[in-house]
């Protein structure tokens, strides 16, 4: 048997604080909810509708983040250029500013008279209190997860591997798709899950830009404001279960997948 020294015991003792601090409220939330209330909420079309809006909008936001974020990540991983640090900071800004601030900032440019909202409203797309508003709020606050994770993935692919592929006759675009992308796919998927989960949990900016259509977090807040703690609790449990289920399923799917390290 391995002997535990004092340092290890002390560190385990200190380290368990955060684990318990996170685990206890969530576990308590799960057990304190009323099963009947959960079932009745599951039959309530407003609740299902709100959850659907959250899941669906978060998925679109994640797809957009991948489409635009992966090329950016590749550039950041492979090239050095002036203002690179500036661009990296811009990507991370949504993480550090309060989400209500993000909401105000988005509201100012995405109203139908705003500098971005204007041209879109000519195309018939409005953001304020509309689904596209929910999506751009989610994209704004969560895209950095895709960019940073994909970038890390690309940085772990030795550029010399791409160079060898080039000398074997593969053009630069093809090399990206057959070498760099497959080897970073795991990081990109992990980043996408984080992005999707963060998008679902977004509340602060959505409340400001697009209170309606109701997303699950907004609905929970609304229930809580209407003095229905038990309603809010049940919807929270449904939302948490859904997120955890997706998280676990995707994790299982990519387990052992795309790990090519020699040692």
């Amino acid at each position: 048997m391995r002997k535990l020294d004092h340092t290890t015991i002390f560190f385990v003792f200190m380290g368990s604080f955060l684990v318990l601090f996170i685990l206890i409220p969530i576990a308590n939330l799960m057990v304190s909810s009323n099963l009947n209330s959960i079932i009745s909420n599951l039959q309530n079309s407003a609740v299902i509708g709100a959850i659907w809006v959250s899941v669906y909008s978060a998925l679109i936001a994640t797809i957009l983040a991948v489409i635009f974020g992966v090329p950016l990540a590749y550039i950041l991983a492979r090239h050095d250029f002036a203002f690179k640090g500036f661009i990296e900071s811009i990507i991370d800004v949504p993480i550090v500013i309060p989400h209500t601030v993000s909401g105000i900032a988005l509201l100012l440019v995405f109203t139908s008279s705003g500098i971005l909202g204007g041209p879109f409203s000519n195309l018939g797309i409005t953001f304020v209190n509309a689904l596209p508003g929910v999506i751009i709020c989610m994209l704004f606050v969560s895209s950095s997860f895709v960019v940073n994770s994909a970038r890390e993935g690309f940085e772990n692919v030795d550029p010399r591997m791409e160079k060898v592929a080039r000398t074997l006759g593969s053009g630069s675009m093809r090399t990206f798709f057959v070498i760099s992308l497959p080897l970073s796919l795991r990081s990109i998927v992990v980043g996408s899950i984080m992005c999707w989960a963060r998008a679902i949990s977004e509340f602060g900016s959505i409340v400001i830009l697009a209170y309606y259509p109701l997303t699950a977090p907004t609905l929970i807040y609304q229930q809580f404001e209407n003095f229905s703690l038990s309603g809010a609790t049940s919807i929270s449990v449904i939302l948490i279960s859904l997120c955890l289920a997706v998280f676990v399923v995707v994790r299982l799917l990519i387990r052992g997948w795309g790990v090519y390290d020699t040692d």
């Binding site: 160079k163 080039r166 000398t167 006759g169 593969s170």
Partner: protein, 348 residues
């Protein structure tokens, strides 16, 4: 075959200045230089991975300076093999062919032939992470050669391998050079590799070529102290080699007979590294095949080490630590015994 004219590039900590080189078709050309001398960048410039600041590169008299790598027909092998980790051995080797829209059956035949050549057919379905270093490097060589490149560039291809595998691969690479009639440019910091493989050698230092010539020229007439120090050769003796029996070669230098474990006949040069020679005051019984006695001719104090030249019929340079030098109470004219093994004698 390949001509490099006045090539320069300054990038980060690496710098190449005014490189002029010409490599003949079918030649095995070794670029020798310490790390940081710009060897890899020079190869990558030839492959088209970077573009030079100034200068021109010609392959078969066609200028390729700004041609992208996929259009140059140049193979590249790196020190760490750079196999595609998500593809098995077969898929790695066939990579270059499958890009060329070849028939499936044809690809299969070509790849099988190439795997046979390198003795890796049994590895076809293995993933790179499960292979030994030697197997990986053979796969990388096969992958590069499957497109029959006009020119094969190798960046320290043997440095990550153990000694035995390295020696096997040296034989195979010399064979590739002959069999495929591929021009090879091989970059290394290891002089023994250069000796074993090179038709000609270029010495690269601080991004400049300081000498080009065949191994004997560089050995015997190092152009400057850097080359002499870098090749680190002290004992070079010319002689005539013949079979010495029992897997040994005996070299007659005109004055003494020296045994070597390497096989060669005819006119040769031998080298013995000073650190492989042991000295003693009395004759001792030893397994070393080469035993000579002679007077100390010269003593040079180099600080930590003392450099001795001993006249055993041919001058032999030996290094001693200061302590052993004092213990042996050596001075000019004193007779000593010198021993070295047949395996320590290199022929070229």
């Amino acid at each position: 075959m390949i001509r490099i004219e006045d090539l320069s590039r300054d990038w980060k900590e690496f710098k190449l200045t005014h490189i002029n080189l010409e490599v003949e078709a079918g030649e095995y050309f070794v670029i020798l230089g310490p790390s940081g001398s710009g060897k890899t960048m020079l190869l990558e410039l030839i492959a088209g991975i970077w573009y030079p600041d100034t200068g021109k590169i010609y392959i078969n008299d066609k200028e390729v300076t700004l041609l992208p790598p996929e259009q140059r027909g140049v193979g590249f092998v790196y020190q760490n093999y750079m196999l595609f980790p998500h593809k098995n051995v077969f898929e790695n080797i066939s990579f270059g062919l499958s890009l060329r829209k070849r028939d499936k059956e044809e690809i299969k035949n070509e790849v099988s032939g190439m795997m046979d050549l390198f003795g890796i057919s049994h590895l076809a379905n293995r993933m790179p992470r499960t292979l030994s270093g030697g197997e990986q490097q053979r796969t990388a060589l096969a992958r590069a050669l499957i497109i029959y490149p006009k020119l094969l560039l190798m960046d320290e291809p043997l440095s990550a391998l153990d000694r035995i595998t390295r020696e096997e691969l040296i034989v195979e690479m010399k064979g590739i050079n002959k069999k495929f009639n591929t021009t090879i440019i091989h970059v290394t910091h290891n002089f023994d590799e250069a000796l074993a493989l090179a038709d000609r050698i270029a010495i690269l230092r601080h991004g400049e070529i300081s000498q080009v010539g065949d191994s004997t020229e560089i050995f015997r007439h190092p152009k400057d102290k850097f080359v002499a120090d870098f090749v680190g050769v002290e004992n070079i003796i010319a002689g005539i080699a013949s079979e010495g029996g029992g897997q040994l070669t005996v070299v007659d230098t005109g004055n003494i007979l020296i045994y070597s474990a390497e096989q060669k006949v005819g006119k040769v040069n031998i080298t013995v590294r000073p650190e492989d020679i042991t000295l003693s005051m009395e004759k001792v019984s030893t397994s070393a095949r080469n035993v000579f006695k002679g007077p100390v001719k010269e003593i040079i104090d180099q600080g930590a080490l003392i450099k001795l030249t001993i006249d055993v019929g041919e001058p032999l340079v030996v290094f001693l630590t200061r302590q052993s030098f004092l213990d042996m109470e050596l001075n000019i004219g004193k007779n000593v015994w010198a021993y070295f093994k047949a395996t320590a004698v290199h022929l070229f």
